[in-house]
């Protein structure tokens, strides 16, 4: 295990089917997640995020490779690992006929420490504004997800594995969740969070892994991945956009996606500003606005295989 690594994945692959019908859900994944960080795992549906998580939890078995959590093999020592982790599944299903309290007691009893865990579950439920006396079948989808979060966190695990946890939660609860994650990090605990809500990842994660078609495309710090070398530039002229400027900009190698509208021209630019400033000097520039790309745009840039932006 690398120093400080909580999750260590080496060459992990998962394929389904055989022969010509074989499909790879995950290919040769190498990844490590450090203690005390919130790691964001990004990717669209079918990218392999849930497959990775189910492999880590020993719910499915790898075709190749291995994974360790706390330095223990996820298959051979799954029971000991599960004692120290909390899990929230993307498609959360709970026992419909049981109340929140009954499920909390059940899970706590399997964990072997009913009193302490149930007390903490009550505190979490209060923070998330969840009524645990109702049957699961009578809860809204948002409240079911709150109950799922309580179950994942009620034993204060060293590692939280959360698969799309905030979908269906209202903004206020999402904010509470973000605060809880910050508190987790402050306590030196680790979170592995799969999400497609990029603003959420941007807000709470330290590092991000981007997954596409079962392959890990990049692992970067959130700061670094946000600091890619392209910007959106808006130039507002006092009068109309000078004649021929759009064509001139489109011919420049560092500028793409040029669009002109009245007195305004918008473009995506990489590299230095000097060539642009020279090009627009024919007109009277009223204002110039530079906008950093959002994580969504970076995300899409990775997916489109746009090398120049990454």
């Amino acid at each position: 295990m690398a120093s400080g690594s909580i999750i260590e994945i080496k060459g992990l692959s998962k394929t389904y089917g055989s022969g010509s019908k074989q499909t790879a859900a995950l290919s040769n994944l190498n990844l490590s997640v450090n203690q005390g960080e919130i790691f964001g795992y990004l990717g669209p549906n079918g990218a392999g995020k849930t497959t990775t998580i189910r492999l880590l939890l020993d719910l499915i078995r790898p075709s190749q490779g291995d994974a360790k959590i706390f330095g223990m093999d996820v298959r051979a020592e799954s029971v000991e690992i599960h004692r120290r982790i909390g899990f929230f599944p993307a498609e959360l299903s709970l026992w419909e006929g049981r109340t929140g309290d009954q499920i909390i007691h059940y899970v706590a009893s399997v964990r072997g420490d009913t009193r302490g865990i149930v007390k903490h579950a009550g505190e979490l439920a209060e923070r998330l504004d969840l009524d645990t006396t109702k049957r699961v079948r009578d809860l809204s989808s948002g409240n079911k997800r709150k109950l799922g979060l309580v179950i994942a966190m009620m034993h204060s695990p060293e590692l939280l594995i959360l698969d799309e946890p905030t979908g269906g939660l209202d903004p206020l609860v999402q904010q509470t969740f973000h605060t809880m994650m910050d508190e987790y990090r402050d306590k030196g605990k680790t979170v592995f969070l799969s999400s497609h809500i990029l603003s959420e990842v941007q807000a709470i994660c330290d590092r991000v892994g981007i997954l596409r078609d079962g392959e890990l495309k990049a692992v970067e710090s959130v700061e670094k991945i946000t600091n890619v070398e392209f910007n959106w530039v808006d130039v507002n002229f006092r009068d109309a956009v000078p004649a021929g400027l759009q064509q001139k900009l489109e011919n420049m190698p560092t500028i793409t996606d040029v669009s002109a509208n009245g007195a305004r021209v918008r473009m995506r630019m990489i590299g230095d500003f000097d060539p642009l400033l020279r090009a627009i000097s024919d007109g009277y520039v009223e204002s110039l606005h530079i906008e950093e790309p959002t994580l969504e745009e970076i995300f899409l840039a990775y997916y489109s295989g746009d090398k120049e932006t990454s």
Partner: protein
């Protein structure tokens, strides 16, 4: 913690156990109360007039004499059919051991807890087996209440043997259902296979019992229902090799289920 899944399974199942037990007990009670209304000699004459295949279908073998007794009447009226009706219960419970939880996704939450897959299967199996015992006890209580309330002369000890003989039979059906569900993973497919298994077993038993001295008779030996014959139990008491066979096969299927469940992916 050991026993948590067992206790939770019982908590989630006790109502169904009571509903099934009370329903079957009411049926048993009704049959017992009907005993004084029939002249057993007429019943014997009526039975002799039926072709063997019809008698075999209601669970009556070659020993017609036993069925002209009060105990025999209860055996025909209740145990001949109740085994098939009751067979639905262990099928439902066998599906719950793995297939239902995999199908609805709760197994992901359960198996993310510090508990081994094998422990989940064993604890659920034992809890559902206990619920089968509960249903059988309620059936016996129904019979007993009928005997007392109707003042019917019945050998209660022999009736108890026929009743409690249902336990290994039902545990066997549950184990078979569990194994099939673990092998095929999907609830609907598993349910189809188990239903076919029970129906084919019933047909083989019926044909086998009706066609003595033919190939069909040996085919009947393949059916597990052949080894639950209320008339035989009434005349001979517990048939221990059959009980051992049911329990032995159940244990073997439990072991096979544990092995396969440990090896394979959990479905979503």
């Amino acid at each position: 913690m050991i026993g948590s899944v067992f206790l939770e399974t019982l908590k989630q199942t006790w109502k169904q156990m009571v509903y099934w037990g009370v329903g079957l007990a009411a049926m048993a009670l009704l049959i017992v109360l009907m005993v004084p209304l029939f002249d057993m000699q007429s019943v014997a004459q009526l039975l002799e007039s039926f072709p063997p295949v019809i008698l075999a279908m209601v669970g009556i073998g070659e020993d017609l004499a036993i069925f002209t007794t009060n105990e025999g009447f209860v055996a025909i009226g209740f145990f001949g059919k109740s085994a098939l009706i009751f067979a639905v219960y262990p099928v439902v419970m066998g599906m719950r051991i793995s297939a239902n939880e995999e199908d609805n996704g709760t197994s992901d939450v359960l198996l993310s807890l510090p508990i081994a897959r094998a422990q989940v299967i064993v604890e659920k199996f034992l809890a559902y087996a206990l619920s089968i015992v509960g249903v059988v006890v309620l059936i016996y209580l129904g019979l007993h209440v009928g005997v007392i309330a109707g003042g019917v002369e019945l050998d209660v000890a022999r009736l108890a043997e026929v009743t409690f003989y249902l336990i290994p039979l039902m545990v066997f059906i549950m184990a078979a259902t569990m194994l099939i569900a673990i092998l095929v993973r999907r609830r609907t497919v598993a349910l189809g296979i188990v239903t076919a298994f029970v129906i084919i077993s019933y047909m083989l038993q019926t044909i086998g019992a009706a066609a003595e001295g033919t190939v069909a008779e040996s085919m009947g030996a393949v059916s597990f229902l052949t080894y639950y014959n209320a008339g035989e139990i009434l005349s001979q008491g517990f048939i221990w090799p059959h009980i051992a066979g049911f329990l032995g096969l159940s244990a073997a299927m439990l072991l096979a289920s544990l092995y396969r469940y440990e090896q394979r992916d959990i479905a979503v």
